[in-house]
Amino acid sequence: MLQREYGACVDALSEAFHNADEAAFFAAVDHIVHMREPRMLGEIRRLTGGLQKALERFSIESRLADFAEHEIPGARTRLLHVINMTDAAAHRTLDLVERSGPLAERVAHEAAAVLATLAAGEPEPLHVRLEQFLPAARADCEQIRRNLAEVLLAQGYQDLTGQIIRSVIKLVEELEQTLGSLTRLSGDVVEHATLGSDPAMAHGPVVPGVTQGEIAAQQTDVDELLSGLGM
């Protein structure tokens, strides 16, 4: 094999060397190098391929370590902040609603008393009633108006929580892509775990496009289902 492939070349090289024929000598050397080239190139390609894969794997793994160390805990903190913000805004709104209700009730109650006086048909007590009622009604309505303006402002949380949730969605997308690349690189066949549909388990609110199975879209569906069961 060695003799057959390289015999002629080595002979030519040796002959040129003995004859001190520089041109023939280097031509023979070039010929040998040329013969070795494809194998060398193949080897280099294999080595660089392996190196590239190792680098890629290293970069994916360090990205994953970054996710685990910083970004996931950060996302958790951000989502907790969203819960706290929505909680605060809801309580603020409920405070204002609870404070406005009695004011509206008082205006309605007093207005009913004025109407009763009016029905009685005596001008003197009506005049006194109105003098008491109108300034109080104005003050109560102004307070209700201010409370409503604050209810409006309390809804500003949606903008802020929306931005935070979007940033977490972006993180989840990145994590999904990185895990996808890792799976492709490993060439592993991933067994997809199927989520059991244990009816005793709580799944949380229905999310369009995510929640699977038969869902009661509204209260009437629930009522129909239960009456079908004899309830």
């Binding site: 309580h91 609603v97 799944h203 009661a216 239960l226």
Partner: protein
Amino acid sequence: MSKDCKFLVVDDFSTMRRIVKNLLHDLGYPNVREADDGETALPLLRAEDFDCLITDWNMPGMPGLDLIKAVRADARLAKLPVLMLTAEAKREQIIEAAQAGVNGYIIKPFTAETLKEKLDKILGTAAK
């Protein structure tokens, strides 16, 4: 059932408890107590006399379904009217809740009318 009947509202979100409490006030039921999951609700139910339990399903600690099962297994509480107020809307879950012994099932988001309608129904039934 008289308007002074005593309610226990169980939900892990304080805002939802407050909303339900406000609606009950508006319906003329001022006597309302609160608990944030089944584990805190159960001792209250055993220690005091309640006329109606309104519970969420998805709660950390003891979920609503387990609470209902515990209530039905307790001889003193077995007949307590129970209304489930939850975001869980899968058909098999509603059936599961019915089998566990709920008297009414409302899915969130809900309206004041739905709450009134279900309460009238289950408290009326209980009064018989």
